[in-house]
Amino acid sequence: MNTTIDLLYFARVAELVGKRSEAWPLAADTTGEHLLAELRARYPRLAQAQRLRLAINQEHAAPAARVQAGDEVAIFEPVTGG
């Protein structure tokens, strides 16, 4: 039974947390919003990034979206391509 999620960090978020990815333990299903709050507590430098967005399994996700063990969750600031 997989009890972690794969976190991916991009651009300034990767700089602020000091890594590009990590396995994150998950005791139970959670929400994007709750996960972001946990990450802000774990990495105080994320206070510099006011607008955090997430993608779950490579799709943009709303804060209320469910996060489950085995998910690939990416954390980033609003995109700036084009």
Partner: protein, 159 residues
């Protein structure tokens, strides 16, 4: 056709390939090319570095092109985007839409570049000639433009 690569692209060749794919269906091909510009008139850019989320990037671009083809009568589309470190004036992005008529081609092309700017997972880091480096912030005007497409009724020129 979706392309994400470090290498430069040849917009004319991409438009020609699209032209060959759509054959006699397309009376109109609209293309858009985006280049690295100065961050501000008094703050010249030396390089722009583009980071992306491999996998999700291609999926989002495919979905943007599929949405454009659903909303307008498009015979074919191209989205090409570069990643890595690009110099001032280098090409960044190429978008093309082919249609029987110009209205659908113009709107499809504009929709794709607008959607790309707010959905496709790319991030720009500026290095100015002064040596200053920073991540670019998403502009509210880009968000507003995407929102206006969501509010607009689809109007196919040839339903």
């Amino acid at each position: 056709m979706i392309i994400v690569q470090e290498a430069d692209f040849d917009g004319a060749a991409l438009a020609r390939t699209l032209r060959e794919q759509v054959g006699g269906l397309a009376g109109a091909i609209v293309t858009f090319t985006g280049h690295v510009r100065d961050y501000a008139p008094d703050e010249p850019t030396q390089t722009l570095t583009l980071e992306h989320y491999p996998g999700m990037c291609e999926r989002e671009l495919e979905d943007i092109a599929a949405t454009a083809r659903r909303r307008w009568n498009l015979a074919g589309t191209v989205i090409a985007h570069r990643v890595g470190t690009l110099h001032r004036e280098a090409q960044i992005v190429f978008v093309a839409a082919a249609s029987a008529h110009r209205g659908d081609a113009f709107r499809g092309c504009e929709y794709m570049i607008d959607a790309l700017k707010t959905r496709a997972p790319f991030w720009k880091r500026e290095t100015l000639t002064s040596g200053k480096q920073f991540w670019v912030e998403q502009r509210q005007t880009d968000e507003d433009r995407t929102q206006s497409w969501n509010n607009e009724k689809t109007l196919k020129e040839t339903p």
